[in-house]
């Protein structure tokens, strides 16, 4: 699927033609530079590697410096591979123009990290029992996690406390409301994973 790398700018709302409020996310999409073209012959599959963002020369390893030099561009901070582009050559620039207003895209990002969280926040459990009538310390507990001597184990995938967020999340089928090519911005309906300023990839 062709796509582009971008940066989440933030959320706002705009109005539809009927006057309805549409909550929307503004994404700075591209411009991205083709840093590598993978072909069936050499790499076993066809793909295009795009680069986005600014990386300081002094923070770039020599190996990557050479990689960017081949494409004749400045060092880029983010590299992502996309399939489904045709007729792109090394050093070409991909902009937000590949998207049309009204079409549906998937946006992939890293969700905001919430740290180690209990089951009430992480999985929406209700806790155990009452908060009064002598009850104590069970309010946010997970309850039973299984039976006893049979099956004599806790089933895999049992929902428990653990790390929440800071995970790759795909928001599927978001409608593209506006494409502002002069500013390299696209506006999609709804929310997008991650904090403002975080890197996202947008796929058709």
């Amino acid at each position: 699927m062709p796509g582009i790398i971008g940066r989440k700018v933030g959320m706002t709302s705009i109005y539809s033609a009927e006057g309805k409020i549409l909550p929307c996310t503004v994404i700075e999409a591209g411009p991205c530079v083709v840093t590598q073209v993978k072909t069936q012959d050499r790499d076993g599959y066809d793909a295009v590697q795009l680069g986005f963002g600014v990386r300081k020369e002094k923070n770039t390893p020599s190996a990557l410096k050479g990689h960017f030099k081949k494409a004749n561009t400045d060092p880029k901070s983010k590299l992502v591979e996309f399939k489904g582009f045709d007729n792109l050559n090394l050093g070409d620039v991909v902009t937000a123009e590949i998207f049309e207003e009204g079409e549906y895209v998937d946006v992939i990002g890293t969700s905001k990290g919430k740290g180690f969280q209990g089951v009430v926040k992480r999985h929406g459990f209700g806790g155990v029992g009452q908060s009064t009538h002598g009850q104590h310390n069970r309010l946010r507990a997970p309850g039973s996690i299984g039976a006893a001597s049979y099956p004599a184990k806790v089933f895999k995938g049992m929902r428990m406390a653990g790390q929440m967020g800071n995970k790759r999340i795909t928001a599927e089928n978001l409608q593209v409301l506006k494409v502002l090519t002069d500013k390299n911005l696209i506006i999609v309906k709804g929310s997008v994973p991650g904090a403002n300023g975080s890197t996202v990839t947008i796929q058709k």
């Binding site: 700018v9 933030g10 706002t12 709302s13 705009i14 109005y15 006057g19 409020i21 503004v26 700075e28 506006k178 502002l180 500013k183 911005l185 506006i187 403002n196 300023g197």
Partner: protein, 121 residues
């Protein structure tokens, strides 16, 4: 460009700004807004006291409260809604807070708001 600047630019570009009179919490206003019934459009009036204004830019809203019989009715209007036609200020209220939620608990005589007196020079 910083994120806030971009968002503000987009709001200026894509959302029409309305010329509204300067009003705030405690003011009594008449809001005229369009409502759609099937294919017909008509204007309705809502008179009440402004409880709060919240948000900023094109996402700003204000809440108007009125007593309908003895049931309180509150309506939230987005400032830049295309359905919003005009706002007329009936009375300026003198309140100390930006959000007068205490007003909800008031009925009868205590639900009066002192009028702000302006000294024209």
């Amino acid at each position: 460009m910083s994120n806030n600047v971009i968002i503000r630019e987009i709001q200026n570009e894509l959302v029409e700004r309305k010329e509204l009179p300067n009003f705030g919490a405690g003011d009594t206003i008449i809001v005229s807004y369009k409502i759609k019934e099937g294919n017909k459009e008509r204007t309705q009036l809502f008179q009440g006291v402004v409880i709060q204004r919240r948000g900023e830019g094109s996402t700003e809203t204000f809440t108007v409260r009125k007593m309908s019989g003895n049931v309180g009715v509150e309506r939230i209007f987005p400032v830049s809604s295309p359905f919003l036609e005009s706002i007329q200020i009936v009375k300026k209220g003198a309140v100390r807070r930006a959000r007068i939620f205490y007003f909800r608990e008031r009925t009868g005589k205590s639900a009066r708001i002192k009028e702000k007196r302006s000294f024209a020079k």
